[in-house]
C-alpha cells in the first residue's frame, strides 16, 4: 500500500526536526546554590512590601464580610421620580448646592479613604483593617455617586458647568467655588497629616467623622419628603453605621493602651475635627474656613429654599442642638480613657483649651 500524501508530509517534517540547542539534564545542587546566595537589600519604611496577612482582630473580618454586599446601589434608586420640573429654579439650585456641600465631605471620601488605605498597607496594619478600609472606599464611592446624580439631575452641567438664571443661583455657585477652595485646603492638610499619625489617632478622627455623618444623615432621613433622597439617606446612614462599627472595633482595642502623648494629640484632633465638620453639621467656623462675608448669609437663604423643597434641611437651631448632642456623646465615650475633651464654645461645651492647627486636620466622612 502506497503511503498517502499526508503521511509523506509527516515523514518529511520528522526528518527536518532540529533539536533545541541544549537541554538541562541536571538541576543545580541546592546546597551549592545556598552557599552563593545574597541577602536582599532592605526595604525603606512606609512601603507596602513585604506583604503579609496577619490578623489581630477577627471581628473586623466579620464586619468586612458583612460589608461585601452593601445591599444597595446608587443607580438602582428611583431617580426617575426626581423631576427637576417639579421644583422652582431656586429650589433646584438650593438642593444642588446642598449636595455640593455634602460632596465636599462625602465626595472626598473615596480619595481620602483610598489614601488612608494605602497608609494602612505602608504601616503594615493587620489584614482586616486594610480590608475594612477597602469596603469604606467602596461605600464612600456610592455616597459620592448619590451627590453627583442629584446635582446632575437638578442642575444639568452642575455643580459649576451651568449658568445660573437667578440671584440665588449665582450666590449658590459662588459659595460652591469657595467650598471647593476650602476643600482643596483640607485635602492638602489631610495628605500632609495622614502618614504622620498612629492608628489610634487616625481612628479617633475617623470616628468623629462617622459620628457626625450618622447624626447628619439620620436627621435628613427623618426630615426629607423626597422619596429618592429618603431612601438614599437611609442607605447612606446604614453604611455609616457599619463604619462606626469598624472604628469602634479598632478603638476598643487601642484606647485602653494609649500613651499620654497620644491622648494629648487626640484632644487636638478632636478640636480640629469639630472645626472642620461644623462646616456641614452647623456652620463653618473661622478657624479653618476661609470664606467671604457673603458666604454664611447666602447659605442661610439657600437653606430655607432647600427646606421648602422638602430636602430635609434642619434649622440652624436644630443643627446646633444635634451637633452638640453628638459631640457630648463622643465626649462621654472618650472620657473613660482619660482623653481630655477640647473646649467647643461654639456649641457651649467647656473643656481643655487647645490650639487649632489647620495642618493637623484629619476628620473624614
Amino acid at each position: 500500500m502506497n503511503p498517502s500524501p499526508a503521511s509523506q508530509d509527516t515523514a518529511a517534517l520528522a526528518r527536518a526536526l532540529i533539536p533545541p540547542p541544549e537541554q538541562v539534564l541536571t538541576m543545580p545542587d541546592p546546597q551549592t546554590l545556598l552557599a552563593k546566595i545574597e541577602t536582599a537589600p532592605g526595604i525603606d519604611g512606609a512601603n507596602i512590601f513585604p506583604l503579609e496577612w496577619h490578623v489581630q482582630t477577627p471581628k473586623l473580618y466579620d464586619i468586612y464580610d458583612a460589608a461585601r454586599d452593601p445591599g444597595w446601589s446608587p443607580h438602582t434608586l428611583a431617580w426617575d421620580t426626581l423631576r427637576a420640573e417639579d421644583y422652582s429654579l431656586d429650589q433646584r439650585y438650593a438642593m444642588a448646592y446642598w449636595f455640593s456641600l455634602l460632596a465636599v465631605f462625602d465626595g472626598s471620601g473615596p480619595s481620602v479613604f483610598a489614601r488612608a488605605m494605602i497608609h494602612t498597607y505602608e504601616s503594615k496594619e493587620e489584614d482586616p483593617v486594610r480590608k475594612c478600609f477597602f469596603s469604606v472606599v467602596r461605600d464612600e464611592m456610592n455616597h459620592e455617586e448619590v451627590c453627583g446624580r442629584a446635582i446632575k439631575r437638578l442642575t444639568p452641567g452642575g455643580p459649576l458647568g451651568y449658568v445660573p438664571e437667578t440671584p440665588l443661583g449665582h450666590l449658590a455657585r459662588n459659595n460652591i467655588e469657595w467650598l471647593y477652595y476650602n476643600g482643596s485646603r483640607y485635602w492638602t492638610g489631610f495628605k500632609n497629616g495622614v502618614d504622620k499619625y498612629p492608628l489610634a489617632i487616625l481612628f479617633t478622627s475617623f470616628l468623629f467623622g462617622e459620628v457626625a455623618s450618622s447624626t447628619l444623615f439620620h436627621g435628613m432621613y427623618q426630615r426629607t419628603t423626597i422619596p429618592v433622597f429618603k431612601e438614599a439617606f437611609k442607605r447612606i446612614g446604614q453604611d455609616e453605621g457599619r463604619h462606626l462599627g469598624i472604628c469602634l472595633a479598632v478603638l476598643q482595642k487601642l484606647l485602653p493602651v494609649l500613651t499620654e502623648d497620644d491622648k494629648q494629640m487626640i484632644s487636638i484632633q478632636l478640636r480640629a475635627g469639630f472645626v472642620f465638620l461644623s462646616g456641614i453639621l452647623y456652620e463653618p467656623p473661622e478657624q479653618f474656613w476661609k470664606l467671604p462675608p457673603t458666604f454664611i448669609p447666602a447659605q442661610r437663604h439657600i437653606d430655607e429654599v432647600a427646606r421648602s423643597a422638602g430636602l430635609g434641611i434642619l434649622t440652624l437651631d436644630e443643627r446646633k442642638a444635634n451637633w452638640k448632642t453628638a459631640v457630648l456623646r463622643m465626649k462621654a465615650n472618650l472620657d473613660p480613657y482619660g482623653i481630655e475633651f477640647p473646649a467647643l464654645p461654639e456649641v457651649g461645651i467647656e473643656g481643655k483649651e487647645v490650639v487649632f492647627d489647620p495642618e493637623k486636620v484629619i476628620p473624614i466622612f
Binding site: P58, K59, D62, I63, A66, E210, V211, S214, T215, H218, G237, Q238, E240, G241, R242, H243, L244, G245, I246, C247, L248, A249, Q252, T325, A326, R329, A332, N333
Partner: protein
C-alpha cells in the same frame, strides 16, 4: 472569668471577661439579631431582665438615655458585669431561638377543606428530620414542578410529633394553591424548608390584639395559642376579619381558647355581606377605632394581605400604639408579585 448570658430564656452562652456580648455570641456561632455593630442601627437592642451590664459606647441614635435607664442595652457594645445576665431581645432572633432552618421531606397527612377557598394541610416530617419552629414562623413548600417555592405560615407550633399545619387559600391563577387544592393527595411526599420569618409576640406587658385577615389567621392564632399555652396572662383579643360567613374557619379552636383561658376573647368581623356572626359590615380599622379610644401600651400581632396589614398597622399607630409593639406577617400571592 467567664460570664453567662441567657437570651430570651432559650439561648445560653459564655462571655469571656471584658468581651462584648454580641462578639462573644457570634464567635461561638450563636446568631443574635444585629446589623451595624456600631451602636447605630439598634437591631441588637435587648432588655436586661436579670443581672447587669456595662453599656459601653452609645451614640444615642440607636438607644436613648431613657431606654438605658429603663434597662435596655445594645448587645454590640455591652459587656456583662454580673456573673449571669438574662436578656430579652427587641428584634426576633433570626430563624428563632434554637430552631435552625432545615430542608426535609414531609408526608401529607391531611388535606381537607375548611371553607370553599381554604384547605387545612397537615404534613409530617419524614425520618430522620425533627422539625422545630416558633409560633409565627413560616415554611417554604417545594411542590412538584413549581418554582419558586411557596410560603405558608404555620397555623400551630410544631409539636414533638413533627406535625406541620398550614392554611392554604386558593388564589385565582395560583399554581401552587391550585396544586394543593386539586392534586395533592394523602401520602404524597413534598419538600419543606424552614422555619423562616420574624413575626412574634412583641415584648412587653400590655394587652395583646391579634388582627387576622383571611388565612392571616394562621400566624396570629398560632402566636396567641402558644402564648396562652405558656401561661401568658396578658389580656388577649383576636379579631378575625373575613368577607362573608363562608370564609369563617377554625371557630372551634377560637371558642376552645376562649373557654380555657379567661384572658382570651375573640371577635368576628364580616366586611362585605350580611352575617349571622356580626351585627354590621365593618373593616378592621373601623372596628379598632370604634372599640378603642387609645391603644397606648398595647401590643399587636397582625396577619393578612399587605393592604390589611398596612391599614391595621397604621390605625394602631394612630391610636397610640408604639411601632415597636407591632409584629406582622403579610402574605402576597406569587402570581401578584
Amino acid at each position: 472569668m467567664s460570664r453567662t448570658i441567657v437570651v430570651n430564656e432559650a439561648l445560653r452562652f459564655g462571655v469571656p471577661e471584658g468581651e462584648i456580648i454580641l462578639d462573644a455570641a457570634l464567635s461561638q456561632g450563636v446568631i443574635l439579631p444585629h446589623q451595624c455593630r456600631g451602636a447605630s442601627c439598634g437591631m441588637c437592642k435587648a432588655r436586661v431582665t436579670q443581672g447587669t451590664v456595662d453599656n459601653g459606647w452609645s451614640l444615642g441614635l440607636a438607644i436613648s438615655d431613657q431606654e438605658i435607664a429603663d434597662g435596655f442595652c445594645l448587645m454590640c457594645q455591652a459587656r456583662p458585669s454580673s456573673a449571669e445576665v438574662h436578656l430579652s431581645t427587641v428584634q426576633p432572633i433570626p430563624g428563632g431561638e434554637g430552631s435552625a432552618v432545615q430542608s426535609f421531606e414531609a408526608r401529607v397527612l391531611c388535606n381537607t377543606p375548611l371553607t370553599p377557598r381554604v384547605r387545612r394541610l397537615v404534613l409530617q416530617a419524614c425520618e430522620p428530620a425533627r422539625f422545630e419552629a416558633q409560633a409565627g414562623t413560616y415554611v417554604e413548600l417545594a411542590l412538584p414542578g413549581l418554582s419558586p417555592h411557596r410560603r405558608y405560615s404555620l397555623a400551630t407550633v410544631p409539636s414533638s410529633d413533627g406535625l406541620i399545619e398550614l392554611l392554604v387559600a386558593r388564589h385565582p391563577g395560583g399554581a401552587a394553591s391550585g396544586h394543593v387544592h386539586d392534586l395533592l393527595q394523602l401520602g404524597d411526599i413534598i419538600g419543606v424548608t424552614g422555619p423562616y420569618g420574624t413575626c412574634r409576640l412583641p415584648e412587653g406587658e400590655g394587652p395583646v390584639l391579634g388582627l387576622a385577615g383571611g388565612t392571616g389567621l394562621a400566624p396570629v392564632l398560632s402566636i396567641m395559642e402558644d402564648a396562652l399555652g405558656q401561661g401568658d396572662t396578658s389580656p388577649m383579643t383576636l379579631l378575625f376579619s373575613v368577607r362573608d360567613d363562608t370564609e369563617l374557619m377554625l371557630l372551634d379552636r377560637l371558642a376552645g381558647l376562649a373557654h380555657a383561658h379567661p384572658n382570651f376573647r375573640y371577635a368576628l368581623l364580616v366586611t362585605e355581606a350580611r352575617s349571622r356572626f356580626s351585627t354590621k359590615q365593618q373593616y378592621a380599622p373601623s372596628w379598632l377605632r370604634e372599640n378603642h379610644e387609645s391603644l397606648a401600651g398595647a401590643r399587636a400581632v397582625i396577619g393578612g394581605s399587605p393592604g390589611f396589614v398596612a391599614a391595621c398597622s397604621d390605625t394602631c399607630i394612630a391610636l397610640g400604639m408604639g411601632s415597636e409593639a407591632i409584629s406582622a406577617d403579610s402574605f402576597t400571592p406569587v402570581a401578584q408579585t
